[in-house]
Symmetry: C2
Subunit: 168 residues, 2 copies
DNA sequence: TCGAAAGTTCAATAATATTTGAAAACAAGG
DNA sequence: CCTTGTTTTCAAATATTATTGAACTTTCGA
């Protein structure tokens, strides 16, 4: 397989992958492109490589910056802005976890706290069922929250170390 | 807060949550409804509670069954089919992990294997950058794959135990 | 075996999300 | 402080995805 084709496959499947995780295709594709590019790219480079409009490119690069996955790079002697992705995949994963935790898990846990205060006779089976479910989700959510914190502060091989500790 | 309102909030935010994870709103809502219901429900119950059409209900319940999150239940003395969600949240999480691993992580790893066979001069910085990225993602992906296997076979408090082992 | 009730399918439609492109804002160099 | 190249914005257009509902199939009881 030629490099060009391989790059295209990577970009396209990274994009498809993204859509299964609530990330829009283009954002994932730009990320993929920057990940495999040896040097920082300009907006125009991205537009041309992916055949997308200027506005789309701009918005999605900005979003990637918000997520902490891409950085603006200033190359001296150039007027245009350049962009580069964080290349350390472990850092990338940690950053994504950090953001999704903040954006999704934590608000969910807050909501569950509120929902636990439902009024009503706790002998009513509907109330009971509701409360049990909410409380169980909360328990697991809190556990996940703590574990992810540990992960965020951990070394890359945390996963594997964990595995080994459990096995032996 | 009244039970009715609490239930609605739970269902609606579970649905919104789902959309951020590549799961369609209705499927997540039906799942939520079945999670908090004390008894199995029929299609008609679901239609009425969520105000959705018969076709939609049918398709999404089937999808939940495919994911292994919901089961058909036959209540004797009733002609209609009833549906119930797995209530053990830990089992639910494991099941989701199992499915997503199979549907997404494993195909991705297969693709990466193929992409590593790219032709070209390995001193070319574009080739080098591509190969480095692919290989790093593969490495982490394989690690994740193994760790998730461990998790799938683990007890509910695996998370917390892991945490404690690391801390001390 | 038939008829009614329940379940399923899928083309048409609606809702949602993404993309475009042109206009506006901004920034750097002269 | 003006010109030009660059970046940003956002309403409208497009593409994608989800939903409906009526026709069709299956199942069950009599």
């Amino acid at each position: 397989m030629k490099l060009t084709e391989a790059r295209q496959q990577f970009i396209s499947s990274w994009g498809a992958f993204g859509t299964h995780w609530g990330i829009n295709r283009t954002m994932a594709q730009i990320h993929a492109l920057l990940l495999i590019s040896s040097d920082p790219l300009t907006q125009d480079d991205v537009m041309e490589e992916l055949n997308i409009s200027r506005g789309n490119t701009n918005m999605n690069i900005r979003e990637l910056i918000n997520w902490g996955l891409v950085e603006r790079v200033l190359l001296q002697g150039h007027r245009k802005e350049y962009f580069a992705a964080e290349k350390d995949i472990w850092k990338v994963v940690k950053q994504i976890v950090r953001e999704r935790k903040k954006r999704e898990l934590e608000p969910m846990l807050q909501l569950l706290d509120k929902l636990e205060e439902v009024e009503g006779d706790k002998r009513d089976k509907n109330v009971k069922s509701f409360l049990t479910t909410v409380s169980n989700i909360k328990k697991l959510g809190n556990q996940a929250d703590k574990t992810l914190d540990t992960m965020i502060n951990a070394e890359e091989n945390w996963f594997l170390n964990t595995l080994l500790k459990i096995i032996k």
